[in-house]
Amino acid sequence: MIRTQEYNLNFGPQHPSTHGVFRLLLTLDGERVVKAEPICGYLHRGIEKLAESRTYTQIIPYTDRMDYLAAMLQNWGYVMAVEKLMGVEVPEKAEYMRVISGELSRLASHLIAIGTYSLDIGAFTGFLLAFRERETTMDLLEELTGSRMTLSFARIGGVAADAPEGWLDKVDKFMDKLPDCIDEYDGLITGNEIFQARTRDVGVLKPETAINYSISGPTLRGSGVDYDLRKAKPYGIYDRFDFEVPLGKNGDCFDRFDCRMREMRQIIRIVKQAIEQIKEIDGPVIAKVPKVLKPPKGDAYEEIETSKGIIGYYVVSDGSTKPYRVHVRRPSFINLGYLDEMLRGYLVADVVAILGSIDIMLGEVDC
């Protein structure tokens, strides 16, 4: 192989394929990547520090601003950690509302992931179609929470409100329609020859490496590791639903993409079962919690499965109304930790394909 002089290329921070403000300092040998240094922090707002001077309830809207494409899942992880700290029992109906709104959030996030990924690869149609269904999801979430993206729907002890009248039927109807839409994406994107040529055997991630580097979510499962917290250690009421965890075989970009695609079909299953079961439950959507929250001294760590991977909240209380320390284990951040090695040896054109397949959210990476 002929070696030429290596040179540096700045990819980002202002580049549409980085899905935000993210910079990669690539060292190239011709068109091959020799080394890649990910540089993040352009969106760092210091949420962990800000949280120390807010009350427990005031922190919920900050969690929205991390992964704003799946805000409900962010809220949920945080309130679960505080509930564990306080020993609050969440009413059954609230758990169901969390599952339905959380899974809709996950759906919205996955639709963005596959839509923007097909755009990264060069398929504009896939992007438009995914946004069509995402719009319906956003409308449903808006009707429930009053907000399209920054939902702040979870509360410590439950959720903000019960479903408005007829809302569950609307969700049900949408879920009936969705399989046809996913078939359409499958035909247009997944089965597309150019798409497959661009993504198969690109950015291969071995299962043992993925585990070693704490990679989670569809990026981990694309490598064939069966680890979805909803199944591995069911939180909330996830043990009541019958669903599968889609796994990949080769751990390449295509498998990661396909995992998300198949996960969407599982979302339909979960939501349909949840709607079926919630109709028989009556009761409050929020537990009786005091107006001023003062969790006892101590710490708690809780983690849930979001659309990007495992989000964990570590909350320390000193017995006052404000948390002593809040730390967030952000899946997008940790999933990027192996990017350098993942990119080495591939072409510049593959960089976009590999980065897109990890599905990062910069608000969450930089926190």
Binding site: N212, Y301, I310, H327, R329, I334
Partner: protein
């Protein structure tokens, strides 16, 4: 075989005489035994997934507490391991050789809390600017703004 976190913590308490278990079932390890203990956790007990690594500052006790949440992929449970570092000399061995997942998490802790992880291959600021002064998550960090 150990099937859940409680059983594992109990077993660890019997096996290693230098660890302590607190009432929330977190394992407290002295800093000088950290690497030895973590290696045993991974090799002998199959705790192969470092979920979370972070730190908290306790100036009143003159210490940082570094917190590790470690899971087993196969069994699906998580345990919490803690260790204390002297606030005047915040140095701790890196667990990067055991779990690669510590790579960016330790850089983040270093950046925001100022704990130096010895043996980390690339301990550089990750979220803040390279020439930033101070470590914002320390309790004595002075900052402008806020709500006072």
């Amino acid at each position: 075989m150990i099937e859940n976190a409680t059983a594992l913590v109990e077993e660890l308490g019997k096996k290693f005489d230098y660890i302590e278990v607190n009432e929330q079932s977190s394992v407290i390890v002295p800093a000088d035994k950290l690497l030895e203990f973590m290696q045993a956790l991974k090799d002998d007990y199959g705790m192969d997934f470092l979920t979370n690594e972070t730190a908290a500052d306790y100036p009143s006790e003159n210490k940082f507490e570094v917190v590790y949440n470690i899971s087993s992929i196969e069994k699906g449970f998580t345990i919490m391991v803690k260790t204390s570092v002297d606030r005047d000399n915040p140095e701790l061995p890196s667990v990067f050789p055991i779990w690669g997942g510590a790579n960016w998490q330790e850089r983040e802790v270093y950046d925001l809390m100022g704990i130096i992880f010895t043996g980390h291959p690339y301990l550089k600021r990750i979220l803040l600017d390279y020439d930033y002064e101070g470590h914002p998550l320390r309790k004595d960090f002075q900052w402008k703004g806020g709500r006072e």
